[in-house]
Structure formats: structure tokens, C-alpha cells
């Protein structure tokens, strides 16, 4: 159903389709989008207020990895640190950020400030303080299940501050949450099984390089749709090769669009 709708919209506005692709191109870090429209979209992921949610149970780590990766985008040229603020109740609930794992994900530990706040109110306060400091490259908030006060007012406040400061702000929410929000985009991230891999004699297929689906649930610039992506060794994400899942035709059929 969703796929059909996507197809229809894509047909209606081919320009949007191109823009969305350019956003991803930009995220790859390979090319600076050209043209007025491209520049507009190119700025999309590197500024403003974005919400990142898992698609289901167990996708929290994927959402966090995506947010950290996006936060690292704007960091590439400057020496500015990323501010990561987590609710201290999250530590045992969803796990605490593990330095070796974060490094493997491409996070520069020298340029990561970790803040622990014991109250939800303090997490928003930290975000506002960070947004008022020009020495910060990006901010990642992780509230998880401790989100009680968050509403449209708070989201609008954060959005306005983030836009005024020109610092991207990513908020990781619990996957069951949703509702009204002023965020520039709400991304849903889900972990997908990696490309098949095994070796002779192994009882079970091996865990291969992970793959994710990124779904734009709502956005200011973009129409809702989804991509599949994976990370490279440096933690940048790029579109996954459709061939990995079989013949291009099948994949395109499944995802309701022609393989780009």
C-alpha cells in the first residue's frame, strides 16, 4: 500500500525524487549537490531538528548509529565536537554508548562530549545550552522510554533554536512514540538482515555487513519514502547495492521503484 503511494507520488513529482537522491548522495560525502534545489536539500541533513526512531523493538541501536553518523557529517571539516546527551535511566534499559563500538561506527571519540542527565527536563536544557554554543558541531539526544514531557511545544522550541543556531539536532525517541512534532523530519530506521555469507562447515550463516532501511515518515522538504543503506568502514552511510538481494528486477518490484 505504502509502496503504491510512493510510486504515485514519485511519478507526480520527479523533481522530488531527484532531490531525495541528492540528499543521499550528499550523505555519502562524495558530491556536493549542485544547483539551487540541490543545495537546499543538501543542507537538509546537516541542519535543523530531526527525530530518529527505530522501526520496532531492537532497532534503537540502529537509530542511534544513524543519528551519530549524521551528526558526524557536519563535523568532517571542523574540529568541533558532537554533544551526545543521554538520560541516565537509559543506561541499563537500552545500554550505554560503548566507546570501542562507537569508534567502529566511525565516531571520533576525541570529538565526542558525553553528557548524562538524570531528568528529562535536563536533557532539553542540555540541548538548548549546546545550541547556544557555537563550538558544537551537532547534538544527539537520547531519551528512549524516559520521554514524558515531550510535545509539540518542546519540539517547536528545539526546532527554532536548532535552525537559528545552524547546528543539527538529532533526537532518538522510543520506537512506540510518534504524534505531532515540529521536527524537520522524522526518520524510522530498521535493521535488515545483511547480505548472506557463510563458509564451509559453519552451522549457521554468518553475520555479514549490516544493512538498514531508512524510512522518512514525515519531512518538510521530502515526501515519505524509504531507502536501503549500509555503512562503510569509516561510518558513512551510502545506498545499498540492490544486486545484493538478487536480480534488479525483483528488488525493484519489491520496493516499488526502478533501480536507480
Amino acid at each position: 500500500m505504502a509502496c503504491k503511494r510512493n510510486k504515485k507520488e514519485n511519478l507526480k513529482s520527479p523533481k522530488r525524487e531527484v532531490s531525495a537522491l541528492k540528499a543521499c548522495e550528499f550523505a555519502r560525502g562524495y558530491s556536493e549537490p549542485a544547483g539551487a534545489d540541490g543545495r537546499e536539500i543538501g543542507h537538509f541533513l546537516t541542519r535543523g531538528f530531526h527525530e530518529c526512531l527505530g522501526e520496532g523493538r531492537g532497532d534503537h541501536a540502529a537509530a542511534l548509529a544513524f543519528a551519530l553518523s549524521c551528526a558526524g557529517l557536519g563535523q568532517r571539516e571542523t574540529a568541533k565536537p558532537v554533544l551526545y546527551c543521554a538520560h541516565s535511566g537509559e543506561r541499563q534499559e537500552t545500554g550505554a554508548l560503548h566507546a570501542p563500538g562507537a569508534m567502529r561506527q566511525g565516531v571520533d571519540l576525541d570529538r565526542l562530549l558525553c553528557v548524562r542527565a538524570a531528568r528529562e527536563r535536563d536533557v532539553y536544557w542540555v540541548a538548548e545550552q549546546g545550541l547556544s554554543c557555537p563550538g558544537i558541531a551537532a547534538i544527539v539526544l537520547s531519551l528512549g522510554a524516559w520521554e514524558r514531557l515531550y510535545d509539540f511545544t518542546i519540539s517547536r522550541r528545539l526546532k527554532l533554536r536548532a535552525e537559528r543556531a545552524g547546528i543539527p539536532l538529532f533526537m532518538i525517541r522510543h520506537w512506540r512514540r510518534g504524534g505531532a512534532s515540529a521536527a524537520a523530519a522524522r526518520w524510522r530506521i530498521s535493521a535488515l538482515p545483511g547480505a548472506p555469507a557463510s563458509f564451509a562447515g559453519s552451522r549457521m550463516p554468518l553475520v555479514s555487513s549490516p544493512r538498514f532501511r531508512l524510512r522518512l515518515e514525515r519531512g518538510v522538504f521530502l515526501k515519505p519514502r524509504s531507502w536501503e543503506f549500509e555503512y562503510d568502514a569509516s561510518g558513512r552511510f551510502h545506498l545499498a547495492s540492490p544486486l545484493a538481494h538478487g536480480p534488479p528486477g525483483q528488488w525493484a518490484k519489491r520496493h516499488g521503484r526502478r533501480a536507480a
Binding site: G58, A61, A62, T94, G95, H98, G101, W125, V126, V207
Partner: protein
Amino acid sequence: MAAEPHEGPLALTHSGQGGDRLIAVNEAAGAQGLAPGLLLADARAMAPELKSLAHDADAEARGLERLARWCGRFSPWVSPDPPDGLWLDVTGTTHLFGGEAAFLETLDAALGRLRLCARLAMADTPGAAWALARFGREAMSCIPAGAQKTSLEGLPVAALRLGEAVARQLERLGLKRIGQLYDIAPLSFRSRFGREVTRRLNQALGREKEPISPMTPEPDYQASLRFPEPIGLLSDVNAVADILITRVMACLAAHGKGARGFLLTLYGATGGVFTVEVKTAALGTDGEHVKRLFQERLRVLENRFDVNFGADAFSLQVSAVERLEHRQGDIADDSSGQENIDPLIDRLRARLGRNAVARLNLRESHIPERAAYASRAEAGVKPEGRAPALAPRPLLLLPRPEAIRAIAEVPDYPPHRFEWRKVTYEVARAEGPERVSAEWWRENADGDFRTRDYFRVEAPQGARFWIFRLGLNERREAPCQWFMHGLFP
């Protein structure tokens, strides 16, 4: 300090020779002829309604120290003199209270408000003041400069802070008054009593110097404010802090110095002292920044002031003072982004606590709990150590591994399915085992760390977990237990 006084006769007792003996009595008990040193049994015979309490020396010492801190409003140089005295070096401070006699009046009134009756004496030397406070005729005496000799003349020799045995021996020799010692050659004391008597006498008369060691070293820079009426409102306290910070900062700037530590002390009107400390990451030269830090800190601590009914004296002391290095900025250097996060770190710390802001660092260890640690977040602090490469590590690690129920083949295969937090996960793909053993080369460092076999497993939908098995089947370490320890993206 604020306890209600007891109405009837009251005595503090301490077990001594022949049973409990009184060591302190109140006024009502004193009126009935009770005195320290009396046996409790005898005292009860004399005053049947006597109430007695065991003497708690530790509590008394603590109380004395609290009182000494509270007296910091009168002089920065206060030292407790156990068991029952306080030294105040008031050199150069009495004029703030309108002279020496007025100072003693103020001190007496302030102590009276705490329901303490004290004997006060002021003299040129600590020894003379000590003698007059304890053996003087009046409860409050202030002797003029250089008059120690005549004032002490009539006091008993015990007033010289001599040991009990020495004082008794002097009395046995007929030397009962201090005045009698003046004309005796010091050498003749020395052969009988060592240097003690001469030293104490010289100290009391000012012939020998005697320093008072204050409780805290006096800071180089400080400012204080006193008010006739106590202040209790947070906004007023903030305003006072602002004034003090402005003053101290101006003083520091005039000397080309900066500081990292600021300690604001609130002296409660009814006793009680409350301190608020703020530390800055960079050498604090920006008064506005320090003011903001204090505002944050005071807001957090608002409900914890233990100064009832407000504070009427404030002081701000500065520590970690350093000379300011004037640096010329590099015209091509764009490192300002790194530098100006220090104020942000200070603000976050002031509100969330000192350990709330950290940088993550790696340690060369395969044990996940040891492989990372948090360190100070200031700019310029470079973390050291690198993680062991190769092995996969999760993005999120549970601080405490959680027990899961898993079904796996023996001896060392990954589980087929497991149950974590009441949800059952099938395992579609798995990688492992990665064996992590105790680091035997570190002595007793890991306690009872048992060897773990880690697996990276993937559910059919794609969620990836890091689980481990405790207990080795091949060594017949039964029963095996499975734990969830981390989450991969």
C-alpha cells in the same frame, strides 16, 4: 547549637576512677553545689532530680568545629581549641565592628542568639587571652595593648596552659599566682620542669611568638559582605554572589591573575554554614560566566540550604589562582571552536554535577567493561590508549549483563533461540565464539572474572545482539548461563 536548654539540673558524665564522674554541669546543677569531678552517685544524693547524659567527645568536637566555621564571619583566621575554646585572630578586623570592645559585644550578642554563653577575652597574645577567658574575673575582658603582665599577675598558674602535674607541683612549691613567676630566673625552671613553664610564660607575655593555625589556609583573594538582616531569597543570594564575584574579579584582574575555584560561604543568622563551590575548566577571568555558574548551582541547591531563616554574612574565596598568560591569537589559527566549549562544559557541570560531562576513552583490553572509561571533558585533554582492533564491539553496552534463557548445542555453538526481556528471538545468523578471559597479568584486578564466550547473533528481522555464555562446557563448568551484553546497530 539550636537545641532547647534543659530547665532542671543537668550534668554530662564520663566514666572515670571509681565510677561515672561529672565533667560538666549546667547553671541549675551548679547552684545545688554540683561541680565537675564529682562522682555521679554522690551528685545524685545531693540533687535527686539531676539528669545526666553521657559525654560524647566526638559530637562535641564536631560542634566546636561547626562553631568555628560559623565564626568565620568575624575573622578569616579561626581555629578550634579543643575541648571548649576557639581562637580568633582579629588583628585588623575589629575596626569593622567599631573597635575592640564593640567587637566583643557583637560576638557576645551573636553567640547569645545561638543560646551559647561564652567567656570572651581579647589580648595581645593568645596565651593572655586564654588565661583571661578561663580564669579572669569577668565574663568579657579586653585588656589594652601591652598590659598582659599586670592583667595576669593575680591569676593562678594553671592559667598558663600548663599540664596538670606541672601546675600542681608549682603550687606545692608555693608559686600559686602568675605574678610570682615573673622574678624567677628561667634557668631554675628549666632544671625542674623543662622548657614548658618558661615557654608558656613568655608566650602569654608576648616575649615569644605563638602562631594560631587557622582551619583553612587563608585565601589570597576573597570578598565578604555582611547584612544587618538575614537574606533568604534565592534572588537576593544571587545578587550578593554577583557583587562578590565582581569585586573578586576586579581584584584578580588588577593583579593579572585568574582562578579556577570559587567558594561561596553563607553564614546562617541562626548558626549553620552553607558552602557552594564552583570550578571552571578554563582559568576563570570572565565574571559573567562565573556568575551564571553560581546561578545554576544555587538553583540546584536551593532546597538544600541548611541556613534556617536566611544568612546574614557572605564570603567568596578564590582558590587555584594562577597567573594569566596573555596569549596572542594566531591570525590563521581556527581552533577557536575547540576552545570556546569550556564555558558550556562548566555550565553543564554546574547543573548536572561534576561527573555528568565526560569524554569516552579507550583502554587496551578485551574485557568490554574495562575497554572504555570516561575522562575529563576539557579541551586540550587528549585521551590515550587504543582499542584492540578486529573483534566486533557493540554500539550499546548494558552496564550489567542481563541473564537470558537460551537453547544452544553443546559444547560451544551459538544458541538457536533465546528469550530476553520476555521476548523470544530466533537466531538466523551467528558469529563466534570470541573467548574473553581474565587478564591474568594484572594482579587481582578483575576479581572473580570468569571466562566468557561472546557471540554476535542476528534475528531474522535484522536486530543484532551481543550475547555471551558463562561457563565452559569442555571444562564441565556446569551449568552454563547465557547473558545479553550489548546491542549492535
